[in-house]
Symmetry: C2
Subunit: 96 residues, 2 copies
DNA sequence: TGAATAGTTGAGCAACTATTCATATAAATG
DNA sequence: CATTTATATGAATAGTTGCTCAACTATTCA
């Protein structure tokens, strides 16, 4: 499979979005359903600022989507590719 | 999906292995079949040292496997999870 | 055995990343 | 309007990563 340099970079960027344990845990929570920034922060025992910074990256990669409701922002998974990548990854680390 | 901290770290490490354009291009070449370090280096226009460093990481994550033949070392994909992660990733960046 | 070839490895450095802290914005509340 | 609450953002910093270079190991061949 011959990849253009551009596609290689884009693929690497996609996987980079999942290459940090904090982001992985954020995704794992969002698989259950949408959550606000502060709920994520509390659950993950991270500051809201740190969570917000990470969500920004995930948003830019179109892995999560934001819905504003009053002063809260609820995040959810943007499409099911994310969930499938996640499951495949789990398969690999479990019996790999 | 509630993840243990350990699994979150392992998942992040797996995706980290694919989070660099050089490694992505290495994988994309190995999808076609096994290749020696120097063949990879030539194809990717990287030094053999740089390729070798990257292959080490991929080996440690069990994404590639090494077969020694004389003084050459041929690398190939370790299992089909890699290919499937790769394809899903491509799906995402193409119509995501 | 000695020279050449294929690959690995460790140190060092530049570039990047994740977090914290302080500050800013925006919406609800009094 | 002023205050509080929820989130976002920029700068600073500590830690990580990917490359190069030099040195090393292992194998082949003369």
């Amino acid at each position: 499979m011959k990849l253009t340099e551009l596609k290689a970079i884009q693929l690497a960027e996609l996987f980079s979005a999942l290459s940090d344990a904090s982001r992985v845990r954020i995704i794992s929570l969002l698989i259950e359903g949408e959550m606000s920034v502060s709920a994520l922060a509390e659950d993950l025992k991270m500051t809201e600022s740190a969570v917000s910074h990470q969500l920004r990256g995930l948003r830019q990669m179109h892995l999560v989507r934001a819905r504003k409701a009053g002063r809260q922002v609820f995040y959810s998974l943007d499409d099911d590719h994310v969930y499938r990548l996640f499951s495949l990854g789990l398969d690999h680390i479990q019996h790999g």
